[in-house]
């Protein structure tokens, strides 16, 4: 985490300097894998019921993009995702920081946080469906529950670990209880908060897709489940591809946000 003081050496520089850049090799490897996969598929070496290959998947992916099917389902998934993850990040951060700040309050709720953090919260989904039925609210709620606890836990830890000396400094220089929270606890907890958000971003994606398997009439997860049941294998792989692409973009976004928010570190 410290400042970069020199070039890091990963072995004999002599050898490393003669090799091509790792990114180039990564890309070349991808091309090779795709080519082998494609050839194996066309040569009939894979059962088309269960597997597909790049060109077939690409055609379906392209069709979905053109006929608006992708946009429609992306919208459904994106709505539940953003609503659930957004609410969980805001409320989880607030409650977690409050628990770290008011130690007594934190100590009271601590066992509940530990319990719900450990619990596979997707197990609650059948109960949620039973009570609220299949619909946006049920999916938003399960995404919320999935993301809320890790965000809360990180915010709680972040507020609790604030170095005592920083709190002392603020008190010596006349900061009131409330101003101390804004000026010290919140920024000191920021690295933990962001780590929590990062977990939330990926976990939220898992939650929304799984929720759509069972409790949706559209959305990326619902499409994956539906095409699998109908053995529309190239479409199935295309939906998995788009879901993965979305997750990748979200992780990149989270990386970018982290670097921006932590530019002082």
């Amino acid at each position: 985490m410290g400042p970069v003081t020199g070039k890091q050496l990963n072995g004999p520089t002599e050898l490393r300097s003669r090799l091509p850049r790792p990114g180039i090799v990564s890309f070349a490897l991808l091309v090779v894998i795709m080519a082998v996969w494609e050839l194996a598929g066309r040569a009939g070496m894979m059962n088309p019921f269960f597997f597909s290959w790049p060109s077939a998947i690409g055609i379906e992916a392209w069709k979905m993009l053109l006929n608006g099917e992708l946009a429609t389902n992306l919208g459904v998934t994106g709505y539940a995702y953003l609503a659930g993850v957004g609410a969980a990040c805001i409320l989880g951060a607030m409650l977690g920081l409050a628990m770290g700040w008011w130690r007594y309050f934190g100590d009271v709720l601590d066992p509940y946080v530990v319990f719900f953090s450990a619990m596979p919260r997707i197990a609650l989904f059948p109960i949620i469906l039973m009570i609220f039925g299949i619909g946006d609210f049920s999916r938003i709620l399960i995404v919320f529950l999935g993301v809320f606890f890790p965000v809360l836990f990180n915010a709680y830890m972040g507020a609790k670990q604030t170095p005592q000396v920083l709190i002392d400094v603020a008190r010596v220089f006349g900061y009131s209880h409330n101003r101390l929270f804004i000026a010290v606890i919140l920024p000191a907890a920021l690295p933990y908060l962001i780590a929590g958000f990062r977990i939330g971003v990926t976990l939220g994606m898992i939650m929304v897709v799984v929720a759509e398997f069972f409790g949706a009439s559209s959305g990326l997860g619902q499409k994956i489940a539906e095409t699998a049941q109908l053995y529309e294998t190239p479409e199935l792989y295309a939906w998995v591809f788009y879901t993965s692409l979305l997750a990748l973009l979200l992780v990149w976004g989270a990386d970018y946000f982290e670097r921006w928010a932590m530019r002082w570190a």
Binding site: V165, D168, V169, F173, G174, P187, A188, L190, W264
Partner: protein
Amino acid sequence: MTDNSLVLRGIHKWFSTAQGPLAVLDDIGFSQYPGEIVTIVGASGSGKTTLLRIIAGLERPDSGEISLNGKAITGPGPERAMIFQQFGLMPWLSVRNNILFGLANTRLSDVDRAARVADAIKRVGLEGFEDFHPKALSGGMQQRVGIARALAVGPDLLLCDEPFASVDAMTRQIMQTDLLNIVTEQNATVLLVTHDIEEALFLGDRVLVFSSRPARLIEEIEVDLEKPRLHEVRTSAKFQELRGKVWDLLQANS
């Protein structure tokens, strides 16, 4: 007694432990004149830091009276500033904003604050580093920020808790000389706690020797070394004699 800057009388402090109450401070009393530099020397963990925290208003004594310029101390106040052993810089703030952090609760205008920050940065020799974050600075430079933050407030009393214990030996000696010059220039009243006998003698007009566990004031030593003190004073016969005296006192009371 009105010209006394700091007055302590009968300060007691106990910590509660699993083995029952532990006396940390035992009947501490002394006073300090404005512009005087008093150093407290004692073994590590002897309760010196607790005393400093009490004077800063971060902790309350179990009994005793404590006042600054005739006003009883009941909590932190803008007439006292403190320098911490672990620097206590906010890692997310630049050098400039760390110093501004100490001024946030004063009634100064933004212009006055900026002027104070610029002045403090100049005094500690950190010009050109205003926009650096603490991580990019050495330990010595970080403590310079800590000193600047405290000085910018313009306190009547500057409390220093082992300020140079976390920097390397050479930097420590340089910073001791620099601190002495800065506080002398500002005619600041300084109370500094250390376990380093040389530091206590080099910086102090008067050295208070504390016993350990519980901390008790065992001797006051006037340091009649010429001022301004140059680095060379450390090798003088007088300095070595005082050093031996403090050493013997600490040995006999540890």
